[in-house]
């Protein structure tokens, strides 16, 4: 079997002492930061990204992937113990997880969350290994027009499926695209939108954008709001779920994994939507739906399985097509570019150790999460008791140091302050920042593919509709739009 030998090759890469160490460090640091309320995987990756700068590319990506699941799992811990999700993907876990914690069952809730995530992670990893090669083969046939249309679809989906307002989502995507264009234009060599600042010739660093938009604006929002935080401080006594718990969460885990795997591949959806959808599904098919929201274990197992499965399958479009399907994948892609690897179908053949090594390390990372987190739950819980007035200056410090370390210059730090201020204003105006990140990473690529496609077609835009794959992606974008707009229109007419 081809896949088996490939996976064996990947495990050979991932099991080297060095890579195993980085995977462990990534998972540990990711969880540590993800546990802090209000900090999700995006910020965790953005803040810790400079740490991976000096590593070889494979180790760096393995560590970043570790940070990603670590932070995701840390977010679930926070949802269960504090009722404050670190990020949208674990918001649903709050509903039942926190109720379980209030009834003294925080231990089983955390254990079931970890086990369900692990199961989903295993399935997700296997799916990537299975789906990767054929998808990459297909992508090798893509021309510039196909890539442009595919990116368009990813952006439309990202804008439409944000938790906030759709039109503002589109605005944020366009702002992101424009920010992505800052720097030297590859075709003409002309610096654009640099306003004479030399440091901008290479473009705005994505650490600047991510840390500013998410971490700093989040800190300011927290300081400005008056809501006190309710922290669950009782000691977590027994971790072991009962046999009944296991039986109750078996099928929800499987269903959650299935839903999450599908949603993870679709552009723009990712972990957040999938956990929400599975929760609704479980509630609908449950014998006694009234238990949900009052500490039903299914309400923890299913969304946790879904968001972890989606977190895994999220990698599929990024690794095989070079198109990120979520803001986090955009970030991972940015990291790959920084390390000199251009993501796309050729990665599998040109850097097989990277592709298969990452896949194998995903499985190891998921295993580490279970092994690491269950014994350390007490430590994470005590971290939550640290008062915010100690926490936030430390977060700001990490942001500053991280931004300075990328290029060793102060301009990045100044820019980060500016982006943070703008980010806070955007949050106040209820503009969701996630679509901006996707636009930011895709901006230069989209322009390049648009140019190439139009050059080949001699300036005829119909090329996007006459090539079948391209047409399919354009129709896909229209369909996504139609599906989202239709209910709103009907409501208007009805009302």
């Amino acid at each position: 079997m081809d896949i088996l030998s490939n996976l064996a090759f990947g495990f050979g890469v991932a099991f080297s002492l060095q890579n195993l160490g980085y995977c462990f460090a990534g998972v540990l640091l990711g969880t540590l930061i993800g546990v802090l309320p209000g900090i999700g995987p995006l910020v965790a990756i953005g803040m810790l990204f400079p740490l991976t700068f000096t590593l070889p590319p494979v180790a760096a990506l393995i560590m970043l992937a570790g940070i990603y699941y670590g932070a995701q799992y840390g977010g679930s811990t926070t949802s269960i113990l504090v009722n404050l999700p670190g990020e949208t993907a674990s918001a649903v876990t709050c509903l039942d997880g926190y109720q379980m914690a209030r009834r003294g069952r925080a231990g089983p809730a955390l254990a079931v969350a970890a086990l369900a995530s692990f199961f989903a992670g295993c399935v997700g990893t296997l799916l990537i290994a299975l789906a990767g090669p054929p998808l990459a083969e297909m992508a090798l046939m893509f021309g510039a027009a196909e890539y442009f249309s595919l990116m368009l679809m990813a952006l439309v989906a990202a804008a439409v499926l944000t938790s906030g307002d759709m039109v503002k989502g589109f605005c944020m995507v366009v702002v992101g695209l424009l920010l992505g264009l800052v720097g030297t234009d590859v075709n003409s060599g002309m610096p654009r939108y640099t306003f004479g600042v030399m440091e901008l010739y290479d473009g705005i660093g994505f650490t600047v954008i991510v840390v500013g938009l998410f971490a700093i604006s989040e800190v300011v929002s927290n300081l400005a709001s008056r809501e006190p935080r309710e922290v669950f401080t009782r000691k977590i006594s027994n971790l072991l779920p009962t046999r009944q718990d296991i039986r109750d969460s078996c099928w929800p885990t499987v269903r959650g994994t299935a839903v999450g795997s599908v949603f993870g591949v679709l552009p723009g959806t990712g972990p957040a939507l999938s956990s929400f959808v599975t929760y609704m599904l479980e509630k609908k098919i449950a014998k006694d739906p009234s238990r949900f929201g009052k500490g039903a274990i299914e309400g923890v197992a299913a969304p946790e399985a879904a968001n972890n499965a989606a977190a895994q399958t999220n990698f599929i479009p990024m690794l095989t097509l070079g198109i990120p399907s979520s803001a986090i994948m955009a970030l991972m892609m940015g990291a790959m570019i920084v390390h000199g690897i251009s993501p796309g179908p050729q990665v599998m053949t040109s850097n097989p150790e990277l592709f298969w090594g990452i896949i194998a390390s995903m499985w190891i990372g998921n295993l580490l999460l279970v092994v690491l987190n269950l014994p350390l739950v007490g430590v994470w819980a005590s971290l939550l008791r640290v008062p915010y007035r100690w926490l936030f200056p430390s977060i700001i410090m990490f942001c500053c140091v991280g931004n300075y370390a990328v290029n060793n210059n102060a301009v990045d730090v100044y820019l980060c302050a500016l982006v943070g201020a703008i980010g806070y204003i955007l949050v106040r105006l209820e503009c969701e920042p996630a679509p901006l990140i996707l636009g930011f990473v895709l901006g230069p690529l989209m322009e390049e593919y648009l140019r190439r496609a139009m050059l080949l077609s001699r300036g005829d835009p119909s090329v996007f509709f006459t090539r079948p794959m391209s047409l399919a992606f354009v129709l896909g974008s229209v369909l996504i739009l139609a599906v989202m707009i239709a209910p709103a229109l009907r409501e208007k007419r009805g009302g």
Binding site: L51, C171, V220, I396, C400, N408, L429
Partner: protein, 155 residues
């Protein structure tokens, strides 16, 4: 109809987007060659994007005027200013005076943006976290930063 536009969230968001779009289009038109659809110049794509952003911004602003939805909560100008100041100070001090002054400034200034400022706690926090940052940056990652520029170097 609501004529108080200063707190109208969609109106303000729309204005912001229009402003960004206008900057994009104006700078592109002034400084970069446009080219044509077949051979796009550096101005082509940003001009299209800026145009789209202006249109969307007008839509958002118009909707804001019609719906008149207010901002929720209050602006946190004080934390915003102090946090931004702390970050700018870090960049400035770091590049001229070294790691230690920069770290001290970040903690003192950003902590002042919090709801309560307890000097003793802030000092202890500054000392502990700075020590941690120094160990990680200089010993683990081996970054070439001076502790205090011109006075104290490690390595």
């Amino acid at each position: 109809m609501n004529f108080d536009l200063r707190n109208n969230k969609d109106f303000l968001a729309g204005l912001l987007f229009i402003a960004i779009g206008v900057i994009a289009v104006v700078v592109a038109a002034r400084d970069y060659p446009m080219g044509n659809a077949m051979r796009m110049g550096p101005a082509y794509f940003p001009t299209v994007l800026g145009g789209i952003l202006i249109l969307l911004g007008v839509w958002v602003a118009a909707r804001g005027i019609r719906a008149g939805e207010k901002l929720k909560g209050e602006w946190g100008w004080k934390p915003l200013l102090l946090v931004a100041l702390a970050i700018v100070l870090f960049g400035f001090l770091m590049s001229r005076f070294g790691l230690v002054p920069a770290l001290v400034a970040v903690f003192l200034v950003s902590a002042a943006g919090g709801r309560e400022f307890r000097l003793k706690e802030v000092l202890v926090l500054t000392a502990l976290m700075s020590a941690f940052a120094v160990v990680v940056l200089l010993y683990v990652l081996k970054m070439p930063y001076p502790l205090i520029a011109g006075v104290l170097w490690i390595s």
